[in-house]
């Protein structure tokens, strides 16, 4: 069986080398090249010396943080209430359904909704408020990003809450804890794994969105993703693009380290 296995696993290994290991090496390598292909540290020097890039990184992280926070605040109660419903599989499916629609289409919907003559403004005018430009603002960007990410936060939290042993909740109530105490001392800590994977699933893509920033954010919001796309496909400065890519990879590892910290000593 073993020999047999190894033979059939060859494509898998080719994939590992070619599409997992090689790209990581290449992107690190390119971050040390200038536009002529010579070794240089100039990309990193530019990144750290010019306030522009640091500011952009900071902004990107800040936006991603806000998006993740708001998504979490909206998602946790949603997931919690969903576990209380009767046909929760079906309801969960309704949460999943929007993720099967291409996110470009969803972003496109918001172009109509947010436009100066769009529905939001009709709604505001109905209450006598002046029309307001939502498209091409950072608020607009965050709403759309949140909209797209919401299911990816709800689902892991829901899974975490559903795995929770009901007898623990009953035990806590029997021992005299009130509903709030049960929630803060039992339910929330035990669902933390789900929250962490949700945060991971939302934060990292939020750092790297580029089509939403272009379509909804106008070029006002520049995330790390937008910067990479610009350097690779517009200005063709792959070295600088790779440098920002390396920053994004490092940011990713920090997020993952923070969110999976407790797993080692954890439940299982």
């Amino acid at each position: 069986m073993k020999k047999y296995n190894t033979l059939f696993a060859i494509p898998y290994f080719i994939w590992l080398v070619l599409f997992v290991i090689a790209p990581v090496i290449l992107i690190f390598g390119y971050s040390f090249l200038d536009s002529q292909g010579h070794f240089t540290l100039a990309n990193y020097a530019t990144y750290f010396a010019s306030g522009k890039y640091l500011m952009m990184t900071f902004n990107s992280v800040w936006y991603a943080f806000l998006i993740t926070l708001v998504t979490l605040i909206v998602s946790y109660p949603t997931a919690y209430f969903l576990t209380k419903l009767k046909h929760r599989d079906l309801w969960l499916l309704l949460i999943i359904l929007p993720t099967w629609i291409n996110m470009l289409l969803k972003a496109y919907a918001f172009i109509g909704i947010f436009g100066l003559h769009g529905s939001i403004n009709h709604f505001l005018q109905f209450f006598g408020l002046a029309p307001h430009q939502f498209l091409f603002t950072d608020v607009g960007f965050m709403v759309v990003a949140m909209y797209i990410q919401l299911p990816f936060m709800i689902i892991p939290i829901f899974n975490g809450l559903e795995e929770l042993d009901n007898s623990l909740i009953r035990a806590s109530r029997d021992l005299g804890a009130n509903a709030w105490q049960t929630f803060t001392k039992v339910i929330f800590p035990l669902s933390l794994e789900g929250v962490k994977s949700g945060v991971q699933a939302v934060f990292i893509p939020s750092l790297s969105f580029f089509m939403i920033t272009r379509l909804i954010g106008g070029n006002r919001v520049i995330t790390l993703g937008t910067a990479i796309e610009e350097h690779f496909l517009v200005t063709q400065n792959w070295g600088m693009g790779s440098t920002i890519g390396v920053v994004l990879i490092i940011a990713m590892f920090i997020v993952m380290a923070l969110t999976s910290e407790r797993k080692k000593g954890g439940k299982r």
Binding site: M1, A9, Y12, L18, F81, I249
Partner: protein, 274 residues
Amino acid sequence: MKKSRFKWSNLYLILVFCFLYIPIFYLMFYAFNAGSTMNKFTGFSLAHFGELFADTRLIIILLNTFILAFLSALIATLIGTFGALFIYYVKQNRSKTLLLSLNNILMVSPDVIIGASFLILFTTLGTAVGSLNLGFITVLLSHIAFSIPIVVLMVLPKMQEMNDSMVDAARDLGASNFQVLKDIVLPVLSPGIIAGYFMAFTYSLDDFAVTFFVTGNGFTTLAVEIYSRARRGVSLEINALSTLVFLMALILVIGYYYISQDTGKNNSKGGGVK
């Protein structure tokens, strides 16, 4: 007390579901607009569906997108299933963990990074091999590449459920390697394989960023086409298209629901997200 809280929670859920579905229904509603903007509904018309079906370019792109998803999911499922088989039989704990972490790199990487690094990879390969034009082949390879890890993650838990003594018994009774694989291993794995295929298929359909990086002039997928059209402004043809896409997604989700009812509840679309 209990009753009133229950109602509040329902109200909250209704609001969340409204938030999730209003944009989608908004899109579909304006697909039937006689006018040409998403601002004012001037009357019912199917004109935009007519436009859509007359737009051969868009129809070809739609077909391309589906062929791409079908092919990449198929190949990724094949490679990933055998990868999972191999990982399962790795005895050493450390190499197993290493393999799994390598496997998961593409699952957690942002798609901009995947796209950019694959672009570098393909141009590097291109200069090494001779000519590798950016187009269908590079997009197909990329889609296969980012779909493999999800297949592995879907198949591996099924392997762990498999009873190893079954394999030994089959072996003792004189089954060949192929027979063991066909009659014992694959039937146990099939729910995971099907779920993996489904996930790979949707990953491919949903991808925008990676395709955007690695495609050339000749080949476009739906997402990339919508992006370039949306940048030029609103066209209700896209709304008509999204109505169709929504219906298709609905059918796919119902299909997935029935499959996941078989495989158990734990494999819902959680965890990995591009």
